[in-house]
């Protein structure tokens, strides 16, 4: 799949959070760059991160090197979107 831009990546990250964590569409729609993720969303534990990374890879057509994944990318929604945009759009 070809993704045209940053907005598409952000929408995909939102959809993956909704699907993997099983949280409301409305709640995910309200996430902004400052919304805290790891530690604030009880649904997001280290096991959920495993599925979330693979799902991001499959939907964005990118590969994540696990050694470059640290807690910072899950600190807030903005950080996760920036990480995905860097990987997916280069």
């Amino acid at each position: 799949m070809i993704f045209e831009g940053a907005d598409t990546v952000e929408a995909t990250v939102r959809a993956v959070l909704r699907d993997v964590l099983g949280i409301d569409e409305a709640r995910v729609a309200g996430f902004d760059a400052q919304t805290e993720l790891f530690g604030s969303l009880p649904e997001l534990d280290s096991m959920a991160v495993a599925g979330l990374l693979t799902e991001l890879e499959d939907r964005l057509g990118m590969t994540v090197d696990d050694d470059e994944v640290d807690g910072e990318i899950f600190e807030n929604f903005g950080a996760l979107v920036r990480f995905a945009q860097t990987k997916a759009l280069g």
């Binding site: 699907d19 099983g22 096991m47 495993a50 693979t54 890879e57 050694d67």
Partner: protein, 226 residues
């Protein structure tokens, strides 16, 4: 062709004659997340006059076979045995990783959200690494991949052999007609519902179950299985 009766548990619903749907659940942990919804879909098919079966794969669920003895090859063979023994036309309905073992000649296929083996394997390896980290062990993906090539490893609750891991690394849903692929979402070739296979919280989706039953029923008619 006849095959020995399977020692594995088989859940059945609906009429015992006429065409039947053979459900293949997602593989490993994802199977547990879909079982209830698939049972609802079987009930809904029964209400539409269509029989269905849900066999355990050897090494999964209630099976007494150790998971380490499982390979995609023997899972595929187990499904072929069920079809050979069915004595009625069979449509194979697979979900997610079930699509990696549903390529059995002579049976039509219906697939929901088929997935590559490599994706399943990667999530299971990541889950293992996350579990190790919580236990204070620092395992890298490269170390785990190297280990899994030479010895059985426990991934997300399943002990998998090097043979199974080698097969998962390259497994893709086979292109084999007749086949209908559906995804979750809106529009043609899509069903409304939640991707329960991604979610750790146990749940069921009655709306998705009904949509599965309706779509399979229509596909059976259109590909002249009924």
């Amino acid at each position: 062709m006849s095959a020995a009766a399977s020692p594995e548990q088989i859940v059945r619903d609906g009429p015992a004659t006429g065409p039947a749907v053979l459900f293949v659940l997602p593989l490993f942990e994802e199977a547990n997340r879909l079982r209830r919804t698939v049972r609802l879909a079987m009930r809904a098919l029964a209400e539409r006059g269509v029989g269905s079966t849900l066999p355990d794969l050897p090494g999964q669920n209630e099976s007494l076979v150790p998971t380490v003895d499982a390979t995609l090859t023997n899972w595929r063979a187990a499904l072929a045995g069920h079809i050979a023994n069915a004595d009625r036309p069979v449509l194979v309905a697979s979900i997610r990783g079930g699509a990696l073992i549903d390529d059995i000649a002579g049976a039509a296929r219906w697939r929901l959200a088929p997935v590559r083996g490599a994706s399943l394997l990667k999530t299971m390896m990541r889950t293992r690494i996350a579990g190790d980290r919580e236990a204070g062990l620092d395992t890298s993906m490269a170390e785990l991949e190297a280990k899994a090539t030479n010895e059985a490893v426990r991934l997300a609750g399943n002990v998998l052999s090097p043979a199974m891991i080698a097969q998962l690394r390259v497994a893709e849903p086979a292109a084999l007609a007749p086949c209908r692929d559906v995804a979750l979402g809106a529009g043609d070739n899509a069903l409304p519902g939640r991707p329960l296979w991604l979610q750790a919280e146990p749940g069921e989706d009655a709306g998705l179950a009904t949509a599965i039953a309706n779509d399979i029923n229509a596909w059976m008619t259109s590909c002249e299985i009924i």
